[in-house]
Symmetry: C2
């Protein structure tokens, strides 16, 4: 679908992508984690896209099996949500994923 | 207002009250924290009340200055949100607040 192609293009063009909602604290946490690591994520705020937001969220679920936000990708690879990302960070693996993706 | 009276009645009748949203991880965290402490909170899911939800959220903002969820009360006293509650827990103060309110 056209929306699916948009997602794939976004993932191909941006080393870090976070599908987010502006009011969501888990989304805020993951966005600020990346910024603290000196890595600026490409953020898509699903609640600011009108009817396209829920449609995008459905596409992401089809692509990743995950229907929740935040939905995090590094180097085009699906990472997971907030807890997954924070766990990788605490295990010291997040920074290596970031460098592999050509960030910092 | 009538909604304000409803809130005050809820706070008077329940030692622990959490105003929450079902989809919100911060709300889930605070609800499960209380349950882990053996304390069953009275939960109001603002997203399940139709148009009353946003109205209630406005009343709570008027009463507490807080417009976000989760919105936590113990013994009728405003505690704050998720981070506030978790901080009190880590400082060892949450359990004393709970016993003061007659819980566990
Ligand atoms: N463990 C997941 C929890 C994800 C989750 O439950 N996200 C909520 C918001 S905090 C959600 O997407 N709810 C449904 C929605 O907003 O559409 C994570 O760490 O990201
Ligand atoms: N630091 C606060 C954050 C509260 C917050 O930002 N809550 C969000 C949901 S996670 C919220 O209420 N957003 C506006 C809304 O849902 O109406 C806490 O720990 O509770
Ligand atoms: S909506 Fe509250 S943590 Fe995501």
């Amino acid at each position: 679908s056209r929306l699916e192609d948009t997602v794939k293009k976004t993932l191909a063009e941006n080393p870090i992508v976070v599908y987010s909602k502006t009011w969501c604290s888990y989304s805020s946490e993951v966005k600020s984690l990346f910024k603290r690591l000196g890595a600026e994520p490409f953020v898509v705020e699903l609640d600011e896209l009108g009817p396209q937001g829920p449609q995008l969220q459905k596409v992401l679920e089809r692509l990743t099996g995950q229907h929740t936000v935040p939905n995090v990708f590094i180097g085009g690879k699906h990472i997971g949500g907030c807890t997954d990302t924070v766990k990788l960070y605490r295990q010291g693996e997040l920074t290596s994923l970031l460098s592999e993706a050509g960030v910092k």
